[in-house]
Symmetry: C2
Subunit: 504 residues, 2 copies
Amino acid sequence: MTLPLADVGEDASFDPVTGERTGAVPHSTPEEVASVLDLAARAATPLAAASPAARAAWIAAAADAVLAASAELVELARAESGLGLARLEGELTRMAASARFYAAVAVEGSYLGVSRDDLPGGSSLVRWNVPVGVVAVFGASNFPFGFGIFGHDVASALAAGCPVAVKAHPAHPRLSVRLGAVVRDALRDAGAPDGCFEVVVGFHSGLRLVDSPVVRAVAFTGSQRGGMALVERAARRGVPVFAEMGTVNPVLVTPAAAADRESIARGFADSFTLGAGQFCTKPGLILVPSGHGFVDSIAEAVSRVPAAPLLTAAIAAAYEGGVSELVAASAGSAAAPTAGAAEPLPGFSVVARSIPVALDRLTAGSRLLEECFGPVALIAEYDDLESALAALERLQPSLAASVFTGEHDADAAGAIARLATRVGRVAVNAWPTGVATTWSQQHGGPWPATSRPEATSVGAGGLARFVRPVSLQNASAEQLPLPLQPENPWNLPRRLNGRLTLPE
Amino acid sequence: MTLPLADVGEDASFDPVTGERTGAVPHSTPEEVASVLDLAARAATPLAAASPAARAAWIAAAADAVLAASAELVELARAESGLGLARLEGELTRMAASARFYAAVAVEGSYLGVSRDDLPGGSSLVRWNVPVGVVAVFGASNFPFGFGIFGHDVASALAAGCPVAVKAHPAHPRLSVRLGAVVRDALRDAGAPDGCFEVVVGFHSGLRLVDSPVVRAVAFTGSQRGGMALVERAARRGVPVFAEMGTVNPVLVTPAAAADRESIARGFADSFTLGAGQFCTKPGLILVPSGHGFVDSIAEAVSRVPAAPLLTAAIAAAYEGGVSELVAASAGSAAAPTAGAAEPLPGFSVVARSIPVALDRLTAGSRLLEECFGPVALIAEYDDLESALAALERLQPSLAASVFTGEHDADAAGAIARLATRVGRVAVNAWPTGVATTWSQQHGGPWPATSRPEATSVGAGGLARFVRPVSLQNASAEQLPLPLQPENPWNLPRRLNGRLTLPE
């Protein structure tokens, strides 16, 4: 695609609850994007040279500033996303906590991978991880805070020492620009290098980031189509795109768990309609043992789910189209689809749906195996567990899967092991929709759940996306960079002649 | 490309010293390749479940078998590569040692990334790395042992728990098949899962590996054209290709190092003509301070380099063509190219060359910035160090760079830091052509030196290419896989609630 010389468009802002246009944000001009990238490139060297502790202090200042502006930011997010205030307040608070977490991961220092070998003949070889350079981030529609302007990708890139240019998501442009200003100003006031963080607006601005020679990595959260388009575009110049994309996350209920039918049915309805079904970890399919009344129980639970607004008119339209396709593809099932409560539907609101399908309809190439964003999920009954596991292996690999088991369930370990070959996270007797920001989190999965199965966009492993290893051979003491100096000034875990050693 | 239903071709074997055809190996049939892949897929689960110590024992048995067959294998390698016996004996011995090293890295266990967090509410989240599945390896022409059938890629994939299917390199088909049989039989006799290692022959067999749904990662060593073709082909189904490709590795001599002119000139000629210049770490360009006589000293050293056979007739022809292009692109330099000694030239032998170029000819898009495989290198004089560093930043990123410095050289640290942003390894007062297999080795570099700048194909980090993380949430003790069990049966370094702990 040839980019236009000028971009005079804007991202309009809508209230999903009413459907009304409430404002607009002009697109960044090509000159503005160039200036953002130029400043970011200049910030790369000082940001890389800064100690993790210095970066942590800057990130903490930004987290403080976001919390201080919480009321204003949450109101902006509510007005543009239609998500509830309580949800958004919690999401903002968790965003600030996550940012501090990534800073703490940097300070702990394992991510630097410091290693030193003494070689025969008196020379040495050292290896450590260096920041890759400027990172472009494309945030998600569905988590205006968590996967947005100062979300997981941004904070982990900054913590790893990379300047960040973020593209504002068109679902919440006013929030993006305001939140961007709060973060940028706080970083600057705390002493972070000028230009190490900025927001740009507009589709073409995003492409300019991906095409820029100063951008060395891209992080993206969104659809397979959007993610793979960026992967292909950036591949032309060897730039990695860490895309977390939408797939169907399955839930398996073992026969021994059938006794928990009612709580599983309610839990499933709650989980797949959480945030109006706009979670990348939404359970999109549940496999239940036949003959236990699961289909009726789930239908009953779904019928009580209130209508809720989706993020944009386009998402709501895609949902209605997707539901029609799923219903058509499920034809022949013994049971009929169920609709949630259908109060008057203003704005971009939609009704939740659950759709029974026959297990043998879950075949490669079927529409049933592709994500439908929004509050819809499939139910399939199985007669024997092996046929359920075989069906799960026909799905696209996904971010997460859940298994509901009985106590000392002989089927559990095998089901877990087989699911682990297909997904990034297996949750046992828990729904997939909660993602804790901890050291042990894996929010990723085999392609096409992500473009990089080795990467995670939540948890301590997130920093690894934004560094690469360098070796330095036969350097004198004065030539060693700070993290490699013998006195260990950053107090890092190190590998010395192959032996992992902890700081004192 | 549509693959033929049958392949009745063969890889012919030539002696590069005489140029004579000495035999041939038939291509694997499509059925044979399918059978290799089917067995490899079946081996994936038991190989992944085996302890690192069990895998280490199997790999050690294969290393023993290779050493026991050393005389036969080295003679086969000599007859097909034209490389000297001493070099090949050393390479085979190092190959066996490297295989044991990767096994030891697996046993040490940091590569498993075991981590456990206790979450609020009494549940837990664990994370560890699982093998990705079957790996296809495309070895290199230039290291029949080191980067061949049982080289770095193969041994690190097996150590990480992945079955391996290797494509025989057409430069040494007879060695590939024989070495493959030695390794396969030794693994089988030691008790490794059937089918966990096999060799296939022929170009189309290689494409069948890349296209197979059971192959989950590809490792390649060779040209940019070959590597990027595989990257593109495998990207269609989200399979990573770890390609280590050819670029120009630069050497910078600082003004303070000019006093060492004679030893640097001899060392440079030795390094870029080592193995007839067929090293991916060959120094392809040296930047020297003007006015110190470096061009004459290097010409003198090069003029004494004996002619040597290249690996294949095609490589020899590409070398002669490449040298002509480089000479044409260097036109206008003050000094003339130098040729090595030109004894009678049987077989695929060629004469070494050094080609002076003006610094300002090193510009983006010039042929001078692209690798020419074989014993040729460029020399450029600079007047001020900044212009030399600026020229280095116009090169393609590369695997390695060398800096020659004086004692307490004020220019050294800055030059090292700038080179470190462009390469995988910086060698100080050392030539880039030696690559030790240790914990701290980085044999990689930014694209296009490799397709995956975060990866290394030599050193402990090599295993990371062949695993991906999985999280398991809320599992009961009996559902935890072995490496996660509280008693730590594999004696692994672990991260517990964020704290790195060493085994006792």
